[in-house]
Symmetry: none
Subunit: 401 residues, 2 copies
């Protein structure tokens, strides 16, 4: 899909689109010949919606490719996940809800221990408690570097997110973790000309961090890897002319949504019902809503087939609240598959449903992997969802005369 | 699709291909759960043909994109409609059956009225009658510009096609229509270096036109927009080794066909039956026939569901005359969908049928949107039709050893 073509065809409209993302939605049967999690779940509301919709399956990145959450979501949002890569450090910072900007360089950090000669004795500092991490991160946050800002955000155990903010940073940097004990942490090397200044700033910070931690017993050194800046993507407003809102509990999804210019709404409470309440309360303010359901993936990744079934049923029970808002277009899909029998993300195409008054409804009886194969959308790249959603929302004008 | 690959694999053959295009073929049900126009139509002949054919659906440009007739037809003819764009001015000239060539620059023209200070009082000159338009266009046609030819072709009411013919023209030009009254028409500006000479010629013409119209009461000025040259496309002979003929009543379709090197046949009469008679009379002379049915789109765009159903049934009744010619390959498809409930072109995939003695027939019971979903062609880009037609006509040799 030529995204500049879409941009040229955008027309103003009052229609509203809801994209409901069940993380890791696609699954596999518990045993050969059985049903998947989605096929097993009792989903009367999704099934009724499916009958009036177009069904299909999406390939998030490419056939056979298992996507992480970053590329999975970028594709759902209509951005080529190979062109726009969100590096590991940036994902770590987004994951703790840090408002990462285009002047920021992020990295994954570990607290570690070194001996008197500076050689690593434990790369994870015995997986220190998160409370210890918080205290150490507070210490490191006070480090001052000229013409730059430093942010240290605890993740959990020994992990933290490192963010360096300054003009003109670049992220072609080598990592400091030698990946084994008995060696000293490596300095950061610039891997291209443009990153030399950045490497200098990071090494300056590491030297300060070493001093700041020298008397600490739990951990007395840090390791940094996965240096990354955010890719500069056109926003939802620029690409689609949409005022978009994100309703997601977890930082990473909030971060990716913020990166594409969505307004990330605050949610009172942590339940799925609270997310739907947020949708209702903000209905008048936006014309695109991304609502992210995390549990389906969590259960998939932990291998809990029944848990994932229940999570899907919980979503189904909330569908009437969504439909009561009378959205013009409803998308139900996932960023990737997470079959509970695999306990991980997978490459399997992901069920997709597109509802609008303008679909040539397939009339298929239920929303499931195998009915989706028969759907009229076919098996499509996930990046095609947004153009289809915009078309169904009558937000695209004709191409050519 | 790599069109140079197709070009390399072309082999001589005596087989004949007929591409029957029902303009705006795809539709939507009149009410939810109902049948589309094609599904409603009684089409015993198309259904019988469908049983012996491959069915599928085509995407003319890209998912969600609603194509104009130009891109819709380029895709059917096997040309990437994003690579080859036919600008609005060129479409206007083709629409009045002007034999636009590669040395021509075309634009959409409006007759308008200006006051004594030259400010526009009516951008459409009160939608003057076509007869008045003809007289004014005759006046403008007599304007002489050095080293260039001018053609002015009336369209209807206040609209005309402007064609400038000269060597080395380019079309990166700004428009003269300020889009509101109370302002003077704008001069044409060259938007790049290569178009400077062309801008000069057009401005020279506009000055002459102003003088020529000064004493006219119905309209005393012109506005030009959508400047465009034809894209230089390889011909059907060059691409496919085909001697191709076009049987179309309306200028625009005749024009696009001429652009790809088809011979545009003259038709005695205006009925669909007359088009089939033309096919019969020229059967021996060509090995590819494009036969264009306009009515399906006309009824779709005017919102006449039953009219579109009748138009499809009228085509169906003529299918035996087509089959009696014993074509080797028959394609039945459309350039885009025009659901009568939307009264416009749309993005919905378009039903497709490919018949030849070499298809692995799907055995589906009828030709309709929902049977096509089950067809073995799947949902394909419309640009794939021509390679499939050529293969079925045994006109493509093996790729590689």
């Amino acid at each position: 899909m030529n995204s500049s073509l879409i941009q040229k065809l955008i027309i103003p409209a009052e229609t509203k689109i809801v994209m409901l993302v069940l993380d890791g939605l696609g699954g596999l049967p518990r045993e050969p010949g059985g049903k998947t999690e989605l096929e097993t779940a009792r989903t009367p509301n999704l099934d009724e919606l499916a009958r009036q919709s177009n069904l299909g399956l999406t390939i998030p990145v490419a056939p056979g490719i298992t996507p992480g959450s970053g590329p999975g979501h970028l594709a759902l949002f209509g951005y080529d996940p190979i062109q726009y890569e969100i590096g590991r450090g940036a994902m770590e910072a987004l994951g703790v809800d840090f408002e990462l900007g285009l002047d920021d360089l992020a990295a994954r950090g570990n607290y570690c221990t070194v001996d008197q000669s500076g050689l690593i004795t434990d790369r994870r500092a015995g997986r220190i408690g998160t409370n210890v991490n918080q205290a150490l991160s507070c210490l490191l946050s006070s480090i001052k570097i000229e013409n730059a800002e430093i942010f240290i955000k605890p993740v959990k155990e020994h992990r933290f997110a490192f963010i360096l903010r300054a003009k003109g940073l670049d992220d072609a940097l080598s990592e400091t973790d030698p990946q084994k004990t008995g060696m000293a942490p490596l300095p950061v090397y610039a891997l291209d000309e443009k990153s030399i200044k950045t490497a200098g700033l990071v090494n300056q910070f590491i030297a300060c961090a070493q001093k700041a931690l020298v008397d600490q017993t739990a951990a007395n050194m840090i390791l940094l890897r996965g240096f990354a800046r955010l890719p500069a993507v056109p926003t939802y407003q620029e690409m689609y002319g949409l005022r978009a809102a994100a309703i997601a509990v977890n930082g990473m999804y909030r971060g990716v949504a913020r990166m594409v210019g969505m307004q990330v709404l605050s949610i009172e409470g942590q339940s799925l019902g609270d997310q739907f309440t947020t949708l209702e309360n903000n209905w008048g303010e936006f014309n695109f809503f991304y609502l992210h359901v995390k549990k389906t993936d969590t259960f998939g990744e932990s291998g809990d087939f029944d848990g994932k079934v229940n999570a899907i049923e919980e979503v189904d029970a909330l569908i009437p609240r969504l439909l009561a808002l009378k959205p013009d277009v409803v998308i139900v899909g996932g960023d990737h598959s997470s079959p509970s029998v695999m306990k991980s993300h997978s490459w399997h195409p992901v069920p997709l449903l597109i509802y609008s008054p303008y679909v040539r409804a397939d009339g298929l009886a239920e929303f499931g992997e195998r009915t989706c194969i028969q759907g009229s959308l076919g098996i499509i790249q996930a990046t095609h969802i947004m153009p289809l959603a915009l078309a169904n929302a009558l937000r695209l004008t004709k191409y050519g005369a």
